[in-house]
Amino acid sequence: MLDKLMMYLQYPFVIRALTAGILIAFSASLLGVILVLRHYSYIGDGLSHVAFGAMSMSYVLGIVTQKMLIILPITVLTAILILRVKQKKIQGDAMIALLSTAALAIGYLLMNVFPVSANVSSDVCTSLFGSTSMLTLSSGEVWASVVLSIAVTGMMIFLYPRIFAVTFDENFAKVTGMKTDQINLILAVITAAVIVLAMNLVGSLLISALVIFPALSAMQIQKSFLRVLLMSCLLSVLGTVAGLLISILAGTPVGSTIVLVYLGIFLLCFVIGMFHD
């Protein structure tokens, strides 16, 4: 088995998948801690549906190579709408549900009414579950994830005290004179960027899992915010590497294999956390 693994590790596409996978998992797990604690667990799911809707729109408009020019702005705007607009009559989670279902419906409708390729359902399936796309990454896409993970890490390090304050108690932060709107804006833009990139590379099923699972797993065990962040990163990178290698060796779909590894990690942490208390 080790021989088989070593053989696969010689292929550049495997190395690229591993690199991008680790970097995206790392970025998403950092953001995930913040998003889960702010009750936006479903934002990964919601935004990726919005990105899917935007993608269909760009196909219909005949913009395929520069589709990011449409997808990214729409998703960023939606993220700002969700994270910044405090609507009294629509709560955050309901807002996510509303936008994501609407976007999914628009996207699927557009793909059906103006079919671009013969096999609509396969197109839909690919964008939702990532299927094998993770193993077909270009080096440009790998570079994009390098840049993004540097941005996320930089943000987490340099804005750490502010991000903690806003996440723990936004009203208090505002009262003490912090510019909470600015922090929320930065978070919204970075969140949207990570999710759009991740959706393209690994599919929207996996991006939700990347945001939620490592954060929740770490929260079962760790007792300080910093430790939760660090452990969340560690678990997500471990889970992604393990999931990827298993899927290559066993020939299972990449996305769902990684999600199941995450689930296993979460259950383990949950049990450990129970005995910890």
């Binding site: 304050a165 723990f168 003490t176």
Partner: protein, 224 residues
């Protein structure tokens, strides 16, 4: 001497009046309790002072103090109980508003946070997780956080709610100690015991009245 000057103030949500507060001055070093029925506008008034709500009409003017130098202890329900953070991290976040153009807290601020934890008696459990604390412990941690932001003024919204009698008296002592050191206290309360410490009472009923604490206690007794 600094003060918070309230002029012809009417507070409320979305231009809907909740209470006509009127005019008065809270001077540095005062100990003021705010009493009244639920829904009479006490919290709305406090949030207006803090700048979280806009006044329906009238003004809140700060003399010799910047609005962000006020420490605030909100109602307990407003803070996430299940948050995975150590007491130390929570207390330190009280200084977040003072970061200005810095990225990190200074050594001085960390030292100050430690002093605040000593003062409120939460230094003993500074490494424990916020979600594991009892109501009284959590409240003292949040008080220590408020002190990080407070520069002479401390606003509290029912800080005693949900605390057992033992925790309440510890908390009162703590606040009294702060007051003796010159901290201005403005506290919403349902507990008549706190009035024993207060100089003045703002009573929210049909009308909003401000009076000396002993005068208020006399009135309450006469009615009872």
């Amino acid at each position: 001497m600094s003060s918070i000057e309230i002029k012809n103030l009417i507070v409320g949500y979305d231009h809907q009046q909740t209470a006509a507060v009127g005019s008065f001055i809270i001077s540095k070093g005062d100990y003021v309790c705010i009493v009244g029925e639920n829904g009479s506008g006490k919290t709305t008034f406090m949030k207006t002072i803090l700048g979280l709500l806009k006044p329906v009409s009238g003004t809140v003017q700060f003399n010799g103090i910047r609005p962000k130098e006020i420490g605030w202890l909100s109602q307990q329900t407003a803070v996430q109980k299940n948050f995975p953070a150590s007491v130390r991290e929570v207390v330190l976040s009280g200084f977040a508003g003072k970061l200005a153009y810095r990225f990190f807290y200074t050594k001085q601020e960390k030292q100050q946070a430690e002093n605040n934890m000593k003062l409120t008696g939460c230094i003993a459990y500074q490494d424990r997780c916020f979600r594991e604390l009892s109501g009284g412990q959590a409240q003292r941690a949040l008080l220590a956080r408020a002190l990080g932001a407070a520069d002479g003024y401390l606003l509290m919204d029912e800080p005693m709610a949900g605390l057992d009698p033992q925790a309440q008296s510890t908390f009162y002592q703590c606040i009294e100690e702060l007051h003796k050191k010159g901290m201005t206290i403005l506290m919403i309360t349902h507990d008549h015991r706190s009035l024993a410490y207060a100089d003045q009472v703002i009573s929210f009923a049909q009308e909003v009245k401000i009076m000396a604490a002993h005068e208020y206690l006399m009135r309450v007794k006469n009615v009872g």
